[in-house]
Symmetry: C2
Subunit: 303 residues, 2 copies
């Protein structure tokens, strides 16, 4: 579940017209490298291009939960990245069809085992959980500062219902009120999610569960061309990998993080979803190998 949208993006490298974006789009595309029976819950207007719907369908995405609102317009976001690519200004937000989004879950969706709730209002996220008759094996969600500012209670309610929260370091600090990510992780997991992934951009990601911590590397990149969608691509790759392997052990979550990170490292190489729709499974496997050699080391038995 996540937005399927139009974006217009400015980076130091150039700017785009309206291109296709949205968390739901990136999540669906990224997960399609591992599974081909994903089901999307989203809403668009009748201005949304058929070609992307065809692309999604060809990658195994079930679109029966995608509402197409006649005479209405698709969610639109426009933003400008600063020179360091780590921060951005929102230029335009047109909610359009998202303003009254009431997620519909077709009967065929009821067997869902791996649920990824992309960043949307915590109330909509909770509605999706409540409309599933059987609880999925793993419920993961993303959120952002905006909801912490204006809907904290709703957010806390939804957090109490999920298994895994995927957020960035700045968001983790705001949500917990703690600067140390170790302390932040403890506070956030007390809110509900047993698992927590804190994304640190070019510095990798941390996975927390019980007393265990995994520090995942990020691939050092020459250039980040457009960071839009990298976090959603990570989440989609992560959940797609877990669903394909149907194994939610800590060890397998580590692998899923590497898979998601590898996909995200492609995503930022071009504007929008362009790079994601180009790469082959062989290219992805090669990139995953780069992650392995990037962080592998073996200590002797004794120093």
């Amino acid at each position: 579940m996540g937005s399927v949208a139009f974006d217009a993006i400015e980076t130091p490298f150039g700017k785009t017209d309206k291109i296709i974006g949205g968390a739901g789009t990136y999540i669906a595309l990224a997960s399609s490298f591992f599974v081909n029976d994903q089901k999307i819950v989203a809403v668009v207007g009748d201005d949304f291009p058929q070609s992307m719907l065809d692309t999604l369908r060809s990658r195994g995405v079930d679109l029966s939960g995608l509402q197409i609102k006649k005479g209405e317009k698709t969610f639109f976001w426009s933003g400008r990245y600063h020179n360091d690519m780590n921060s951005r200004d929102t230029l335009v937000t047109e909610l359009n069809v998202l303003e009254h989004f009431d997620p519909i879950l077709p009967a065929s969706y009821q067997s869902t085992q791996y649920l990824m709730l992309g960043n949307l209002s915590p109330q909509v996220q909770r509605t999706v959980i409540e409309r599933l008759e059987n609880r999925p094996k793993l419920i993961a969600m993303d959120t952002m500062n905006f909801w912490m500012d204006i809907a904290k209670d709703e957010l806390l309610h939804t957090l109490s219902m999920i298994d895994l929260l995927i957020i960035n370091d700045e968001e983790a600090r705001q949500l917990s009120g703690e600067y140390s990510l170790l302390k932040a992780a403890r506070v956030i997991r007390d809110m509900g999610p047993k698992y927590l992934i804190i994304k640190k951009g070019e510095h990798g990601a941390l996975l927390f569960h019980g007393d265990q911590i995994f520090f995942a590397p990020a691939l050092p990149l020459e250039e980040v061309f457009d960071p839009t969608g990298a976090g959603d691509t990570f989440a989609g790759g992560f959940m797609g990998f877990l669903a394909a392997t149907d194994d939610i052990s800590f060890e397998n979550m580590k692998r899923a993080i590497i898979a998601g990170s590898a996909l995200a490292s492609f995503c930022v190489e071009k504007f929008g979803t362009e790079r994601l729709t180009e790469i082959t499974k062989a290219e992805l496997e090669q990139r995953i190998d780069e992650f392995v050699s990037l962080s592998a080391f073996e200590m002797a038995q004794s120093i």
Copy 2:
């Protein structure tokens, strides 16, 4: 080679009177976990306490290259860390004996195979290299923004003579003029050093050599009590490990980074050198194990 000094430190957790510090001190203490025939090149005044000299000697440090200047005062630095512990203001710098430091290398030092040049003027660093009749197997150095600002040509000259530069991300960006660390690494290695370590504090470290990159994790910490000396401790542990194993392959440098990182993670737990002089080899081995489990993962053959 490095300063042996007095520090006075203020952090959000408290402040110290004059305590013992200096890059040379941290490097010698850290390396003593792996080797017991280190030789120090440094200068102090006759106000420097005998007790620390005894501590160093008991850890195998040859002090015959440590000049004790009668009637002069030891280098003194005082600084205050900001709340985020990532930046600090210098409150006092008294060069004292360092102002006219002319490094002396006793004959017994001429067989040195692993040379660590702590942060000092690039001219002094170069003098040490020039006073060794046989080139060591590995010459590593640290430097800082200050020398890039006021002695860039001297710095470039010294860089052309060394094998490995160990600096932090901010310094790498300033030295290279490149924001991307991948590009910065290329520019810096064109200046001379075949090996480059970029330290990223809580985000770990990167090792570059040829086309190879290693992304070392940092241990997520509850609290950084005092970051002073962490970088020097890392460098000392790294070089001590290499010297003890006498292996400068890329694989072994990875292990050395983990060893140095583990020592640095202890260093920040208390003020100054206190924690370093407390910990046992068993504690160090246990912490190294934590680094291993922090970043170890195994991908399946195929995704």
